[in-house]
Symmetry: C2
Subunit: 212 residues, 2 copies
């Protein structure tokens, strides 16, 4: 199966690379990174570029499309080329997926209307204004539309999809290959568990981490 990962300026790198690392290891999978123009695409922090190997016009019928999030999603909401491409490929996908604020781009393309979906915690309200029914679950499957919460949630999304695509055993094999046995040294990874005041602080700063 062909998996297309959409890139655009100021995407969040882990949104794309987390799922890539899982899904690219499944038997029979070919992954293509695609953007409006092929070449290096800079991610949100500025110091990393991933190569888009194909233009959107070259990728017309992937079996799975994945839209990462990031600050650059704002510029995609009115990007007709990207939104038209998403509507086009969605006609023939088995899975249409997103990580983080990538779901806001899917919603802008009209693909999440009336569907349950998730996003980065800071974007859930925006998702509601665009016709989706937001939930704060980490991975949400509504038919073929599979969305993940912020950034690192793409790994959990991809493992879930791996099980559906290739079976539990293959998904477990990939999990063991990438040694995904998470042991975070803090438990601050969700608004429900973060220390007091941190959600408000990050919301006010636009997710920029401040010096102590």
């Amino acid at each position: 199966m062909q998996i297309a990962v959409l890139l655009y300026d100021r995407f969040t790198a882990l949104d794309a690379v987390g799922p890539y690392e899982i899904l690219s290891r499944l038997p029979g999978v070919e992954v293509v990174f695609t953007a409006a123009e092929p070449g290096p695409i800079r991610s949100d922090m500025g110091s990393l570029a991933l190569t888009a190997d194909a233009a959107l016009t070259e990728v017309t019928s992937p079996d799975l499309v994945l839209v990462p999030g990031g600050p650059g999603t704002a510029d995609q909401l009115g990007n007709t080329a990207v939104l038209d491409w998403l509507r086009l490929v969605d006609r023939s996908t088995t899975w249409t997926t997103s990580v983080c604020s990538g779901s806001v781009v899917l919603a802008a393309a009209g693909l999440l209307t009336g569907r349950r979906a998730t996003s980065h915690w800071i974007c859930l309200d925006q998702l509601a204004t665009m016709g989706a029914t937001p939930t704060s679950e980490r991975v949400v499957m509504d038919g073929k539309y599979a969305t993940a919460a912020g950034v690192s949630a793409g790994i959990d999304l991809a493992l879930t999809l791996a099980g559906r695509i290739a079976g539990d055993r293959a998904a477990q094999a990939v999990q063991l290959v990438v040694e995904y046995d998470p042991q975070p040294p803090y438990s601050a990874g969700s608004p429900a568990t973060a220390p007091a005041g941190l959600v408000e602080e990050l919301s006010a700063s636009g997710l920029i981490v401040q010096s102590a």
Copy 2:
């Protein structure tokens, strides 16, 4: 502080991008991806290239160096340019770090001799033959030498380092930004928890996931 991430052909993308996504968000951090020659460097699965923005000769005194792993590490064990560069930068680093089989490259440079270190579970025996004392912990700190287990363990390593570098609150803020609240759909991420037979199967195949 400057953080240098080493790239080389057939590295594993998440080994580099997981830590990058955490560490690049700390206040005052500049990350540079570096390789023998600048330009796109292809990762192990073939379908993703990350851009090295600087040649090794341009990066001479990073505060932190990170060596990702991957099948391409085998070619680095006799790569004098890379090993000499690691020995050079290690003289002035505050942290010398690795993810997955990246620790084998650090060991080949002589930097882990007599030190406790970890690696991908499939590489722990090799690490022992190269003078280090392997442990199967997920993140191992021995002085300034910080090593992580396979692939996804780099995220836990980076959060641990983030706390040491910028304090617990900043590390927790980054964890919340990247919504690192892992919920793997399977518990197959370590040899201790994987289904029966999977460790042997993957060891025999060189970590290639087979069809069911």
